[in-house]
């Protein structure tokens, strides 16, 4: 098999996860589903070097960066109308091998950068259409004091922001680092709704230490939801998903998207077909095994944004294994939200002005 060189995403497994993997290996065995669930999520394997159709280095191939006075604001992206993505750092406690940002430049924003972003969020031309920010990365909870500064700056300079969402896996990757510095971010911020979007892909990841951190967040009034990734040979079976969503419901973690693994370089071995994802979601939804309160939405992360495959969304499949997806995004709307957005090569505009996009399917 031809090799796909130039993959520079190093293996990084937190000391906490290393300890857990050893314990699970001792308890369940090397061939167990439980051990493999962690091992394959974090261990760098030769599969990543396989030459496959998945060639993108980023999950969005369109330009998304926000600009102020025509200067690109580092760490800021806008794809949707009323929310902005802020990435204060690219550091994570551990590297998921299917990371969307594996090939991004590594940086951590400095205090002045954060001030510039907060001022942009509250600026005259932006504030009327911006009520929410998603702070992700990297894992922003890994630098809690800088994140706290960002939150304070947003409160001071962008009072239009009412919802702050934070994307983090720190609770399952290294819960020992979730301490008072982290909890302090969510205290004494009246009028702000905080949400943490996490990602738990397998029931084995509900470690005792992780559950304690979730409970602490709930005490502070923080809402927690999970966007899970459908990963081949890790959680692509109905029993695993039922158990996963049952535990989430029990812990009050809201199910959000169940994402199809994105078509990026080095991820082919993680990717099921879209059809399998739809079938598994149908089974979850229609089986009666789990409550309707615990059912996720299956979603594809395409070059033009998230799309949920409702009836009529998938238009056709070509001989290159790509699926044409119909979106409800309008090109004109998109340009209005972010005039610097560039139409990706994979996307086209239909006769009603809606965007369609080609999306590479996976394999079962």
């Amino acid at each position: 098999m031809a090799k796909n060189k130039n993959l520079g995403f190093p293996e990084k497994i937190s000391p906490f996860l290393i300890r857990k993997m050893k314990k699970i290996k001792d308890e369940f065995g090397e061939d167990s589903e439980e051990y493999k669930a962690l091992f394959f999520q974090y261990k760098k394997l030769e599969n990543e070097n396989a030459k496959t159709q998945e060639s993108n280095l980023k999950h969005w191939e369109g330009g998304l960066a926000e600009k102020s006075d025509n200067i690109e604001l580092r760490g800021l992206e806008r794809l949707y109308c009323r929310s902005l993505v802020i990435e204060p750092t690219k550091i994570c406690a551990a590297h998921c091998r299917y990371c969307l940002r594996a090939h991004y430049d590594l940086f951590t924003l400095k205090e002045n950068d954060l001030k510039g972003i907060a001022e942009f969020c509250g600026s005259k031309n932006v504030k009327d259409n911006l009520a929410e920010v998603l702070i992700t990365g990297g894992d922003p909870l890994i630098i809690p004091q800088r994140l706290h500064l960002l939150v304070e700056l947003l409160l001071e300079k962008a009072p239009n922001i009412r919802i702050i969402r934070i994307g983090s896996r720190l609770m399952t990757q290294d819960p020992e680092r979730v301490d008072n510095n982290v909890y302090g971010i969510f205290k004494n911020k009246p009028g702000i709704r905080f949400e943490i979007g996490t990602q738990i892909n397998h029931p084995i990841e509900f470690f005792e230490e992780s559950i304690e951190t979730f409970k602490e967040f709930f005490k502070l009034g923080v809402k927690i939801y999970s966007q899970n990734i459908l990963l081949r040979n890790i959680n692509d079976n109905i029993n695993c998903l039922i158990k996963l969503y049952d535990i989430m419901r029990e812990l009050d973690i809201e199910p959000h998207y169940l994402f199809h693994c994105v078509p990026m370089r080095g991820m082919h071995h993680f990717r099921t077909t879209v059809t399998k994802g739809i079938e598994l979601t149908k089974s979850l939804v229609n089986s009666g095994y789990i409550s309707g309160r615990a059912k996720p939405m299956f979603a594809l992360m395409t070059d033009i944004g998230k799309i949920i495959p409702y009836e009529g969304t998938i238009l056709r499949k070509n001989s290159f294994g790509q699926i044409l997806i119909q979106s409800a995004y309008k090109y004109q709307d998109r340009m209005r939200w972010n005039p610097y957005w560039e139409l990706p090569k994979t996307a086209e505009i239909d006769d009603k002005g809606y965007l369609r996009v080609w999306y590479l399917d996976g394999e079962d």
Partner: protein, 301 residues
Amino acid sequence: MYKVKSPNIYASEIAQFLNAKLIGKDFVINHPSSPKNFSDNSLFYLDKDDIYPKERLKKYKEILILISKKIEILDENVSFIIVNNPRLQFTKVINEFYIELMAIEISQSAKIDRNSQIGRNVLIGENSVIGPDVSIGNGTKILNNVVITGRVNIGNNCFIKNSSTIGSEGYDFEADEEGELVHLPHIGRILIGSNVWIGANTTIENSAVDDTIIEDNVKIDDLVQVGANCIIRKGTKITAGVILSHKVEIGENCLLAPNVSVRNSVKIGPGVIVGIGSVVIHDLDENSVYVGNPARFLRRK
């Protein structure tokens, strides 16, 4: 204030936090240390003039050094991150990764007048007293046994250490017809900017009528007396034991070394350094260094 913690953090993560490159192996660092006293899995910094502890390094493993110039790697147990101003970057790393701040709360034993105005995220420690005409900005931390009374405005993110007094009645008496000393009530305000540090057992006096002013980013050490109606401009550092009589005005970005005394109504220009133990009795010109008793011009900066 905080407790020290020992998380296991990869050296590469510290490099990424500093937007710098890790030179050498990646391993876990779990505590900060110094070039004279380090141990396995620790981090320290070397300033330009510091000596590279070559022999000692042979005894320990997995050491990370923040350094300003490239250095030949002599030992695979040592990794480097090259940064401008290693001490500053070391400070940032410790702040972010190796201390856990205490919970922000107002202590049960603190006495806070209901007419005072307290911002968000303000910490007030045990037995501290906050008077009715006091306003405290967001994020300010006031430790234990601090007394703040009179008309006092404190900005955001200030830090006030144990047992300091802000709003101390000014020492000002006038003899009456019978020679009795009568105290003039000090009804002036104390205006403290943002990001001001006030050390332990420091006293700041109200003035008779006008204001005592301490501007943004002023850092005052322990055991300092700031007399009534003093004005301390932005970014000035006043170290331990300094005595400022009343109506002293100090310009921006000055440094007063320990135990400096300043006579009343003296003006010190911006950018002045006054050496240890000096006694300042005349106005001092800007951007110069003064030492001695009485303080004399030593050199331009």
